[in-house]
């Protein structure tokens, strides 16, 4: 009895040794840190970004990876909170020793995390966050593959000035850098076209009851209500507007237009507007069409919205930089600096358009168009409504609820 026990212990030990040996022999993966809100109110959007990233990584890894090494993404959950983001990005940089940090969502979180990356001398490529502050501080380890808010809203602003020209507007913003920066831009536009500002209201991320603010807005009757927010809040606001019988032209940034948004808000999101880089609206471009096809093949029944596409581009830029920087030397700081230097020279044609960085590390070659949710055979769908040469449909004025 004792003998068999001893034998089996030896056998197990031998197995552990051999398998451990074989693991050690395989080349270590190249690690890229990815931060994002993978739990909490915008978990869906974080997950969308991740799906786009995994598509890119799986494609590279199935072809053998880079320099014969697999690419491994190390995920860190920011829970949409700047303090959590700082803690998790520090952990990824110092403990997981990633070469470069990608991902990111929420301006408030990324203003904090990108500064940490800069201080730790680790290149960071922000995927989703539009506050200009992120790349405007002269931090030379910081890059961003998403347009900043002036770039994001340029098309919408032109439409507001040349077509819509509202007389009275209101602001209903997420109380973060994302919302406040957008407010500044739109406030300037309102002044320019002589629109009256009726109210500036805010809400916190994770709020679910907006009846107080909507009741107040209803009383003021703004023609256009600027509403910067994410998926969950946007769908709740649209739903509660119907409940409280409030009609306005909602204009957001466009990040809310995800599958979950259409599922949650149903037809109440009709007429809502935003600026978008939805890949499915740009199927004439062969690169985009190919991305959509591969995405739909990998994730059956899903349609890639803006976030998978932004996640995909973000990872493609990072992997391209790792490739251009040459085989990692193993000296972390040398490799990180090399990657930072080649990131500056990035020039790729991806799903959001051409990606090139200016001196501050900000992409300047991506320009979203104004889109509106319109019903097609009873189903809400996004259409580009401006400029005329790119428009897929005419702009529709929001109708009162009882006439829809």
């Amino acid at each position: 009895m004792k003998k068999t026990l001893l034998l089996s212990v030896l056998f197990v030990a031998a197995m552990v040794v051999t398998t451990a040996g074989s693991v050690a022999a395989a080349p270590k993966p190249i690690k890229i840190g990815i931060i994002g809100p993978f739990t909490g109110p915008v978990a869906f959007n974080g997950g969308e970004m991740k799906k786009g990233m995994m598509l890119a990584v799986d494609e590279i890894n199935s072809k053998g990876g880079l320099f014969g090494r697999k690419i491994k993404l190390v995920f860190g959950d920011t829970e949409s909170k700047p303090d959590k983001g700082v803690a998790v990005v520090k952990k990824i940089i110092t403990r997981d020793k990633v070469l470069v940090v990608g991902g990111g969502y929420h301006s408030s979180v990324n203003i904090a995390t990108s500064e940490v990356c800069h201080r730790e001398k680790t290149p960071v490529v922000v995927a989703i966050a539009i506050s200009p502050t992120i790349t405007a501080r002269g931090l030379n380890y910081v890059f961003r593959t998403s347009p900043n808010s002036p770039q994001f809203l340029a098309g919408m602003n032109e439409w507001l000035e040349k077509v819509k020209r509202p007389k009275a507007v209101a602001f209903f913003m997420e109380n973060t850098d994302y919302g406040r920066d957008g407010e500044k831009i739109w406030s300037a536009i309102a002044k320019k076209i002589g629109a009256k500002e009726l109210a500036r209201l805010y809400f916190e991320i994770g709020d679910t009851d907006f009846s107080t603010q909507i009741s107040k807005l209803k009383k003021l009757k703004p023609e256009v209500t600027f509403n910067i927010c994410s998926t969950t809040e946007a769908s709740l606001i649209q739903k509660q507007s119907k409940e409280l019988n409030f009609v306005t032209q909602w204009i957001g940034v466009g990040g809310q237009f995800t599958e979950a948004y259409f599922k949650m808000s149903g037809s109440t999101c009709q007429y809502a507007m935003g600026c978008s880089l939805e890949p499915t609206l740009n199927m004439k471009d062969p690169i985009v069409a190919d991305f959509v096809r591969r995405y739909e093949k990998k994730y059956k029944g899903s349609r890639p919205g803006i976030f998978p596409s932004q996640g995909y581009d973000n990872i493609m830029v990072i992997m391209d930089a790792i490739k251009q920087a040459g085989e990692p030397t193993g000296k972390l700081q040398v490799d990180r600096d090399r990657i930072r230097d080649v990131l500056r020279k990035t020039s790729l044609k991806l799903t959001q358009g051409k990606i090139e960085f200016d001196k501050t590390g900000q992409v300047y070659t991506v320009s979203p168009s104004p889109v509106q949710v319109q019903l097609m055979e009873g189903k809400p769908q996004l259409f580009v409504v401006y400029p005329p040469d790119r428009a897929g449909s005419d702009y529709q004025e929001p109708l009162p609820w009882d006439k829809r």
Binding site: E204, Q213, K239, K242
Partner: protein
């Protein structure tokens, strides 16, 4: 201006009714067992998920009402097991602070389990009336909000009948007043503990369904109702059911009026300002007994 004021009061009363429902469960459990259950809001979250799956099987208004029954029973059963196998074995041996730590631990475990099982993506219970609005005089609200308000009021009324007209209800109140005396009078204390925890959890579950119908459902949704329920019980008096009912409505209205006239950014802090003021001025709460 006046119509906006009344509209905001209505908004506050509707939300307040849901707050009350959740707070009553918390205060009952505290009154009878002296447990400050920080996982209380997670029972609301569980209730909301039960209802979400139930409405996938049953549709329409009946489906929605049915889903509330499913949620109340489901969460009640979970409440029974939590009380019987987590809290009760420790009640006699551990100190108050241990029990609080246990409930905080339970809160973390339930939230993370929910994330694992249900996923982190927010969901909504299908509104059988498709957000249809009701416009009366200068008020606007939705059919579903009015119905939720009605159901909350009915549930509270039924609970009152149960507590005042039935033998079991009287036993619960007696235990809440003095557990030793009740024990001497032949009340089965352990049974009352189980019953109270089940009823309290079921009420939280019910509140969660209403919350999830009007708003949204996600694994971390329980945290806010827990904090608000604590604010309400402190306002109304720890252990006082009447206090929880009124406290819920007061908090709901205070939040909407504060949001409208002061600032929306501070909406969620209004409850906590109230708590501080109450503790400073009337520490026993509006309907609580003075400590002797």
């Amino acid at each position: 201006m006046e119509s906006l004021f009344l509209q905001q009061v209505l908004n506050g009363l509707i939300v307040g009714s849901v707050y009350s429902l959740i707070a009553i469960g918390l205060t009952m459990i505290f009154g009878v067992m002296k447990i400050a259950n920080f996982a209380h809001g997670d029972f609301s979250m569980l209730g909301a998920y039960f209802a979400l799956y139930a409405t996938a099987l049953m549709t329409g208004l009946l489906g929605w009402v049915g889903s509330m029954v499913v949620a109340a029973i489901g969460v009640g059963i979970i409440g029974y097991f939590v009380e019987r196998y987590l809290f009760r074995p420790l009640l006699s041996r551990w100190t108050d602070i241990d029990i609080i730590m246990l409930s905080i631990g339970l809160f973390i475990v339930l939230e993370n389990l929910a994330q694992l099982i249900f996923g982190a993506t927010p969901k909504m219970i299908t509104d059988p009336f498709h957000s249809e609005s009701v416009n009366l005089f200068f008020f606007s609200t939705s059919v579903i909000r009015l119905l939720s308000f009605l159901f909350a009021i009915i549930s509270i009324a039924l609970l009152q009948v149960f507590l005042t007209r039935t033998k079991m209800g009287v036993a619960i109140r007696a235990t809440s007043q003095n557990s030793n005396a009740s024990l001497l009078m032949g009340v089965n204390i352990n049974f009352i503990y189980s019953l109270t925890f089940m009823v309290g959890s079921a009420l939280a579950g019910l509140g969660g369904v209403l919350y999830g119908t009007i708003f949204a459902i996600f694994p971390t949704m329980g945290a806010m109702p827990t904090l608000k329920a604590f604010a309400i019980t402190i306002l109304g008096g720890m252990g006082s059911i009447r206090g929880a009912i009124f406290g819920g409505f007061i908090l709901g209205v205070a939040e909407t009026l504060g949001g409208n006239y002061v600032s929306m950014e501070y909406k969620n802090s209004i409850g906590f300002v109230i708590v501080i003021l109450v503790l400073l001025i009337i520490p026993q709460g509006l309907f609580g007994k003075k400590e002797t």
